[in-house]
Symmetry: C3
Subunit: 467 residues, 3 copies
């Protein structure tokens, strides 16, 4: 196992040759990671990563879901039941993973893990039943070495900035700890993720609202206080280096309510007397409010609707959220976002990055919107779509309508810190392959392609996410 | 006309070279045909195929529809009016077909028929107005030869197993005849296709239910008897070698009704007093019941919703069903199947293969579901999508999310027995081309690709359909 | 800047070689332009084109929208406010355009403008900040020369026929002027575009209906008079050389109303008392009426639904329609068109070309319909989809189901007269590339590909649009 220098580049020799040159030029650029789920504590505390299973298997729902689909219960892969740590032994989990390595052929998980094992950890053998124990031992030893601690890797990965995803109530102590640590020069910034505070359909919304007020030092028991608390918490994120918010709801609805109606529904929802339709209307109203606040405080708004979260009830009740059964549904942006864009779409301070896991809307809705509104950017292929072939389709469907400069740049969206370089490396290779094709088809010059490749890898995400 | 050995393989020379090696390795593997519409009587009775028109034109609605779209009435192509045999002469039908051969350029029908004519029947000339009569005569003579009878071809085609599609009331006499014939060793198995007995919106549903009861030797006049009759008929299919059911409805809805409500609606529907909404709710309930029964008897459930059947009323009234005007609509699986998957999705005995003619749902819904549920498989590209380029898109959109081992393997879905080898040959070529690309892009090794190609061609469909 | 002779041809050398031969054979064929928005006055009056900005920037909403998305107000690009000519100076507009040239990399606008500048106007430099003034001067001088007047270019472009888009009330004086001009031999024909007269939801519909009556010399104040007026105006278009109608509505609904109900809703809508649902029902009824009239008068019906027009209210109120913010939504044809196709789908005189900006429906709905109904053709990729990669996807998804001979041939749909050759050139290159792939994959012979390429470029659109 040693990843080939030409991997993911187009097969056609003349195209590959151009792609190789383009990639050589961007391979070493710093990584901008504006959207992901690494815990700031990983860097603040700088503890060694544990064993191979807890590094590569258990927390990665791309991996656990596909092994689960072969009939292996999630608890055997170390997934906690009702928050109780799993009794599965790391070595056993790792063995199961190695036995199922074949399943991942053709998937991005295979690609990322292979790159990560080889490039980050220097592993030279494929996972397989007969290599499982040796790999486990070798990796465990490697992980214990000081140069494989998170902060050392942060430097080695050449990370320009890393955004985490955070609860609006968070004091952001870890981020502040990093900022105040004189021995640390990296940039780790929070992202404001308020879903559970905006949607009265969320479990424990009334409780969340109350706690939000506490965190802001305000009484959020009335609508004005609630709005103030949100504004105050956003200000705290801004003060701690945050540049963006992140929103994932059942749909992209954004119709605002008249103020009196918003207040009435808020009160009813807190009291538990709002109808489901009212709760949904309030959530859409709050998306509009978030846009309004972004015009004021400049936080870049990220939106990724239309996934049914926690789809399999029995697994959700046993294992909790983010355990591999969030399933997409058809997305709609054009009608849903019209109220918001009518109000804020041309506001000079507003910025909205639209992500989808329904690729139909790339050419049909998102690119047409981003090609008119100065505020709207086409979010990179994400989640189920951050794969080599889907990233290709993204460029092929979106560039035609909107060029390169209305797209967001790659986001790795990962919980797996050590996979960050592999993910950005893959995205850069795909972009260079796409640009090389345009060169070979005489649609742009190689100089233009080279500049564009550099912009896509660094300048564009830095600019779009205000980094 | 002699099909090129490299046909359908990718153009890039290095990719083609790998694809050629992969294909050489699987070209001769036995054919697994788990889903199709060949009549078991073809093999049980082993009569010679008739003339070229009734072999290649009249029964193939892919062919007749495209000639119809040029303004040729279906009756001139031999399609029966109200079940009365057409008065069109086979030679005249064949001439019309040859005159319209140009229309099929780029379509899979062109590819299949060309392969079939050359590889099965040794024809060396293209269909054309000036070759029509000679081809008709040559093919007619060939079809009369003993080595072109169905059983001889079954052996020559190297069919490991052939599934037919059957009415739940069928005694399956032809299948039994084959099983009991000591001179016959092939495997021809029935598939349980109960649509017309599950959906009270079907024409003649009350009559169908009564006849179902008769076939089961039970009174299906009450709900309990109806359910028992279905279970009894499934048992008969299992006893006759069946391994699967097949379901095509207007949507994939699967919400079960409470028992008392199911009973009430059943009674109302039999009496003709159920509302359309109640009839639809009952049909969805029965899909859930089919899943429940599959957990018990192990029949693999195949589902392919979202086609408007018999779209053109005048043609339906004149020619009946399956005459080329079933038109797809947008498909939805995520929400529709949730009730069913909540109940049975992780049942160790349950298996559900999801087909679509709306390719949007491959990456958006079906692959995400099959990547979590041990019971769910991504059905192969089917019907309007079993074409070279759509099969490529299938692998490109599905593999990224779910790999190769959660897909079903190819299904030919054909009424045309003699086209079976050509269809599987095409699918194997496309799969080898896709795998070769992954090799040349250094995403998997050639050894892995070779093993995967073999698994896709044989081991996977054999396993998925419990053959 | 000199467009490469191989541009847009596939990268693979053997495929490119075939594509080159196919393209050489069709590059010089006359251009059939059956659908576009050039004003007939351009040719009737034959005035020189003005300056570069008013030729290439201001009227092209593909261009202005993408520069607007960088934050440049539309008025700075010369877009008129409330119909008042913009005060922006052409040279300043041109400078802004040149500064933003980089944005267009990878887009069809870049491709078309580059081809147009080089091939039509002999420009050898790229637009850029430091070339802006020189290019402006050079282009201005060129545009003043007699050989760059519209009629001279019409001949040089080798236009077989050019269809415009016209108001049903238009006397078509410019078309008649051209027909009656003995010095003019070109064919410029009108297209009947009645949206604003069919949809009671349109602003000023009652006023439009009254004026329609005036133009027909009839009283359109009752339903019978309104229908007669439409028939009379269609007859006027037929008499002036028109061969087609063009329809763009919010959806493709076509359910006819019973005559008495149609009359009742018409009267209520005129009186302003119809409900929104009634107005929509009437619009769908009128689509069915248009089909009925097409059966009588032979005008080819073009339909392109599912775009939200004038999406951004503030821009619409300031700048009016067609200013770059029409945004697509999901399209549906199967259910919507069933009533219409049941009645007229097999009528020997009826012809319906279906366009979409939602590419999902190509393989799911439009190709299946066009593969059965003699009246239905798959409209070429259009608007947001008339781009190199989308045109490729079109052939890849549509040909499989329906071959080449149920597609419409390319339509340029442009307001920019001088871009017509570049657009058809691009389409021919993509078609030749697609056909070359089929040859290299041994799916069709090169002779067949050559004939098909010629048919796609000329014979097919000539036949489909009855030219």
């Amino acid at each position: 196992m040693s990843p080939h220098p030409d991997r993911l580049l187009p097969a056609d020799p003349s195209t590959r040759e151009v792609a190789r040159r383009l990639f050589a030029d961007v391979a070493g650029l710093p990584i901008v990671s504006p959207h992901g789920h690494v815990d700031a504590a990983v860097l603040a505390e700088d503890q060694p990563f544990g064993d191979p299973a807890s590094l590569l298997v258990t927390p990665d729902h791309y991996v656990t879901r596909l092994i689960h689909a072969q009939g292996v219960p999630l608890e055997r892969l170390g997934v906690a039941i009702s928050g109780e740590p799993s009794s599965a032994k790391p070595r056993d989990i790792w063995r199961i993973f190695c036995e199922h390595w074949k399943l991942f052929r053709g998937t991005p998980s295979r690609y990322w893990i292979e790159s990560e094992l080889a490039d980050v950890f220097g592993i030279e053998q494929d996972p397989a039943p007969d290599t499982a124990d040796a790999l486990f031992d070798e990796l465990s030893a490697t992980l214990a070495a000081p140069e494989f601690r998170p902060r050392a890797l942060f430097g080695r990965f050449n990370l320009y900035a890393l955004a985490t995803t955070d609860d609006p109530r968070s004091a952001l102590a870890q981020h502040r700890h990093l900022t105040e640590d004189p021995s640390w020069t990296g940039r780790v910034i929070p992202t404001f993720r308020p879903d559970a505070y905006l949607d009265p359909n969320s479990p424990r919304w009334p409780e969340n609202v109350a706690l939000l007020g506490v965190s802001a030092g305000l009484d959020a028991g009335d609508y004005a206080g609630y709005i103030s608390a949100l504004e105050q918490r956003r200000a705290h994120f801004v003060a701690t280096g945050g540049t963006a918010t992140d929103h994932g709801h059942a749909d992209a609805g954004s119709e605002p309510l008249p103020p009196a109606e918003a207040e009435r529904v808020f009160t009813a929802a807190l009291a538990g007397t709002a109808t489901p339709a009212e709760r949904t209307a309030f959530r859409r109203h709050m998306l509009s409010e978030m846009a309004r606040m972004s015009c004021d405080d400049g936080l870049v708004m990220q939106l990724h609707p239309s996934v049914l979260r926690n789809y399999h009830g029995p697994a959700y009740r046993k294992f909790g959220p983010d355990t591999g059964h969030d399933i997409p549904v058809a997305a709609e942006f054009t009608r849903s976002l019209r109220p918001l864009l009518e109000r804020y779409g041309t506001h000079p301070n507003f910025r909205l990055v639209l992500f989808t896991v329904d690729e139909d809307v790339w050419s049909r809705e998102i690119a047409p919107l981003a090609g008119f509104y100065p505020s709207v950017y086409v979010g990179a292929p994400w989640w189920y779509l951050d794969t080599p072939d889907a990233m290709r389709r993204f460029r092929e469907t979106v560039t035609d309508t909107v060029g390169f400069y209305r797209t967001s740049g790659f986001v790795d969206d990962t919980r797996a810190f050590c996979s960050i370089p592999a993910r950005h490396d893959a995205a850069r290779r795909i972009d260079c392959g796409h640009l090389a094709r345009l060169v070979v088809e005489h649609r742009i010059t190689e100089d233009e392609a080279a500049e564009t490749a550099r912009d896509l890898a660094f300048a564009i995400p830095k600019e779009v996410f205000r980094l």
